[in-house]
Amino acid sequence: MLSRCLSTTPIRRHASTLGPKATDSLWRQAIIRKNDSINAIVHVASEDASEALANGPLQKVAIAVKDNICTKSMPTTCSSAMLKDFRSPYDATVVRLLKEAGADLVGKTNLDEFGMGSLNTYSIHGPVVNPFQLPNEDSSWESREQRSAGGSSGGSAAAVAADMCYAALGTDTGGSIRLPASYCGVTGFKPSYGLISRYGVVSFADSLDCVGVIAKTTKRVRAVAEVIMVPDARDPTSASHALRSNASSHSPRLSATRLDGLRVGVPAEYFPSELATSVITPTRRVLSAFQSLGATIVSVSLPSTPYALSAYYVIACAEASSNLARYDGVEYGLNVTVQRTRSGDTAMRSYAATRTQGFGPEVRKRILLGTYALRADAFDNYFQQALRVRQLVRDDFNKTFRSPDVRFMVSPPAPAADQHGVDIIVHPTAIQPAPLIDDNTKQGLDAYVQDVLTVPASLAGLPALSIRSESSIRDSHEWPIGVTIVGQWGSDDMVLRVGEMVDMSLRS
């Protein structure tokens, strides 16, 4: 039986009381020095408890894990009161793979409760504060401007930005890796749906959830992603070897240093009225980098984009209402006992009390929305309709890309059928830089609008890499903005190689 004691001490306080030891790695020293001010890490693993194997491609590489990915040796809270004292009886497949590769799993990172949020403010551990500070600010780093790190993988992005780890695992349902990467000025990668195992990843919306990697550069992202992008029999949605190699056989061949022949599409619909002007310049900078590498820039249209956000929220909330039905306090997690009455509905009243107390406001809201969308009389108008829009979004991408989506390919397409098609799509990751944490507007619909540019790739299950648009974050005189590279399903390797070249180009 798991202990159900409710400790009120925030976990992050423990780190500072210890103080850095000489034997600590630089990563761990950064955690000890900076985490109080950022609140990125919610559980620090003790170094001697590291179960990493001696040899492997990631030997002694410090990696932080989002706290909705199950770990046997550390808590898995999902930033929820519901799972405050929960410890998983098993390791997620990605955690096992990282351990087997020799990685040093340094701790668990903060997130929006169950991954629901775009600003990492809905957390039982408190909000994550963006570690970025403009060089021209007078105040000390600790008393810098309190801006959001983005969400829901805000802890992972902030931990990477603050050098607390080499890379961090995040999850992305509608933009939860790309958005915080953009706000924190780091690189965030959401792979194609089905390429990284979801076994042991606490479900928010099964058809959208992806595990991904956040690091400072695309090169680092790739080093970690390559270890975990393998088929897993424990995940029924994991893509087979055959499907993966079929997809990559359709990806364009790239030279080692140039992007000649690569066709880059810029979708008109991704520059909505909500887009801040400060976002345009960084996007142009990245597009120039593409051109200097020999790529061709063309304008494309993805007409279903305006409907994607609404469809996304219907699907994600409907799936969430189903996936979160398991948190009833019976088998594990928070259990609120109620007074027995003669009416005999003790179990139901206990569920209501447990779920009311265990879930935060955003999770409760989404469960209610999702429950409504699945009602027999609303199902056709909401869930079914949203699935139709999702198909339109997929169709848009398939019409735009040169290569086919091999998951839905009936017969091989005629070679070079569409010379007008593009290989990748490039768009700004977010409509604005990181907003202030105490900004009141974040409470309303505006918070959902943060995801408007990221959800189409989620709905279509496509690989999306948000890269830094600045040459160096330290010299930046503006808050960072990410630029996203989207590829056809299964072209992840190509997307990462393109990202690496653009990274290099921006820095040269």
């Binding site: 999902c78 099964d206 949605t237 179990a347």
Partner: protein
């Protein structure tokens, strides 16, 4: 029990289905004259697999030991379809001539209950596993009951209420076990037909090894739908009675419900659509909820499982390795062995008691039932092909009357392992070859059941001095000496005659019946080792010759 299933070789994918309900004419039932009863049944049968439908649990019999993190709905766990469950459901669909869908999908049915850890049950709401089919009831009229669909779904956990502590205990061992929901069309017209349908389905499930169909242990449960109307008029409002766990209770529930409907209709009111339960104390149904209170299950496709594809080749493979269906076994036994239909029924009933092996396995000793036992003895020629095959009627007699008879006297049930078929064959051969008498054969069988040992019946017959006594002539013609210390039958008869002078005189005076007394004396002396007819012949020869 007669199952008149159409042979699987044809008609499986026939799309033309007659509407049997409209074809059947109304038959007046004396219990409710002027009323027509319409019954449809949903059967939930647990799939006999070591694995659950979507998980591989730890094994254990104690409560909450046969559980995987997935079964307890732990965060992050994902389902993984067990192909063995699909194969077993395919057998059932084939046996019911149901149309197996090349693509079917899984959906989530949501409700909160302590026996449902995930808050939803994975079932097949939108596109079930198999559609159509039929089961013909073993009545003279051979009533066909159409099958609407077969779907795969998860079982729930078991909740046990402790009235003393007023607490509900949850056992997750059953949570996530594979179930087949077999839904019939409303083609039954009486509680008796409903009972026959469930029993026929039960034996079909057992025959194909898909489920042990045990209602007492809850591996087969029924929900019945019943409505009452005037013949010729549209069907009445139906009520569903949930969770009936014995055929007897189902019949009582139906009778009680039919009476209730008739009472309501007689008073010129209308029957409200309801879901009802059945009380095993009062033998009456009671209201669980009305149509208005019907829960909204918020069905949603399960995004993890995707589409279940079944190819024609896979179906063909399962068809070829499938156990024989009861009606085919029945006609084969009658034809091949010229057995009386009544004896075949007894053998099949005995066969139906065998344990159903896990995962449809065949060939294991535990899966051998009475039919295979019988056929082993008939077909195994023991010493070699030169011997003529054993008489099937004699073999069946030994199994049904002697073996099962002695077992039931010992309060044991038949299993193929209790007395190996080769042993019973040897014993029958000894009796048929007059090596031992029938009486000795029976005592030998009793001895084997009472004293389990490695010794074969032949060895035991010698050891226990059961070898039949032979006459002087038989001994000399056989050319072998009788066992040491054994007298021949001629000598024993001679001794008896000399011990019973009064009877000899009476016989010779014409009282023929007194001979039986002398035969009895010989039989007593030989403790059943002599053949009574042979003794009589020897005695007659001796006395008449004098």
């Amino acid at each position: 029990m007669v199952l008149c299933l159409r042979s699987c070789s044809h008609g499986l994918f026939s799309t033309s289905r007659r509407c049997f309900s409209s074809v059947r004419s109304h038959q007046e039932d004396k219990r409710w004259p002027g009323w027509q009863i319409i019954i449809g049944i949903e059967v939930h049968a647990q799939i006999k697999s070591r694995r659950k439908l979507f998980s591989v649990p730890l094994t254990g019999n104690l409560p909450n030991t046969c559980v995987s993190p997935f079964d307890a709905a732990f965060p992050g766990t994902l389902p993984r379809l067990n192909v063995q469950c699909v194969a077993l459901a395919t057998r059932v669909a084939l046996a019911l001539n149901s149309n197996i869908q090349s693509r079917s999908t899984f959906d989530r049915k949501h409700y909160f209950y302590p026996d449902l850890p995930a808050g939803y049950q994975i079932t097949q709401h939108y596109s079930p596993f198999a559609i159509g089919g039929r089961l013909v009831l073993p009545t003279e009229a051979a009533v066909p009951v159409r099958i609407k669909q077969i779907q795969l779904e998860q079982d729930t956990a078991k909740s046990i209420f402790d009235p003393r502590r007023r607490e509900t205990l949850i056992d997750l061992n059953r949570a996530g076990m594979g179930l087949m929901e077999i839904v019939s069309e409303p083609d039954m017209r009486s509680p008796e037909e409903a009972a026959l349908y469930v029993r026929s389905l039960q034996s079909l499930l057992r025959a194909v090894g898909a489920s042990d169909g045990n209602m007492e242990q809850g591996s087969l449960r029924c929900d019945v739908n019943v409505s009452v109307n005037r013949p010729g008029l549209p069907p009445g409002t139906r009520c569903e009675i949930k969770n009936l766990n014995s055929v007897k209770f189902m019949m009582s529930a139906l009778s009680s419900e039919i009476r209730r409907h008739i009472d309501i209709l007689d008073s010129s009111s209308s029957v409200p659509q309801e879901t009802r339960g059945f009380s095993e104390q009062t033998f009456e149904t009671f209201k669980l909820r009305s149509k208005e209170d019907a829960p909204d299950y918020r069905y949603m496709p399960d995004m993890n499982l995707g589409t279940l594809h079944i190819t024609e080749t896979q179906i063909q493979n399962i068809r070829e390795t499938m156990p024989e269906l009861p009606d085919i076994t029945r006609s084969r036994l009658q034809k091949q062995y010229s057995l009386h239909p009544r004896d075949v029924e007894i053998l099949l009933a005995l066969d139906a008691e065998k344990d159903i092996p896990f995962d449809g396995e065949t060939g294991g000793p535990s899966s051998a039932g009475a039919v295979r036992y019988f056929e082993n003895i008939c077909q195994d020629h023991g010493q070699g092909a030169k011997e003529k095959p054993r008489d099937p009627k004699v073999v069946l007699n030994w199994i049904i009357h002697e073996l099962v008879g002695q077992l039931s006297a010992r309060h044991e049930t038949f299993t193929a392992q209790r007395v190996p078929s080769s042993w019973l064959a040897e014993l029958i051969d000894m009796v048929q070859g007059n090596i031992i008498t029938r009486t000795s054969g029976k005592s030998l069988l009793r001895h084997i059941l009472h004293n389990p040992s490695e010794e074969s019946p032949k060895q035991l017959a010698h050891k226990l001095d059961l070898i039949a006594l032979r006459t002087e002539d038989q001994v000399s013609s056989a050319g072998t000496a009788p066992p040491a210390g054994d007298m021949d039958l001629t000598a024993i008869c001679r001794a008896s005659i000399s011990q019973m002078p009064a009877e000899v005189v009476a016989y010779q005076a014409g009282n023929v019946n007194v001979l039986n007394k002398i035969v009895g004396h010989v039989m007593k002396t030989t403790r059943g080792r002599a053949n009574a007819l042979a003794v009589k012949t020897v005695l007659q020869a001796m006395l008449d010759g004098n």
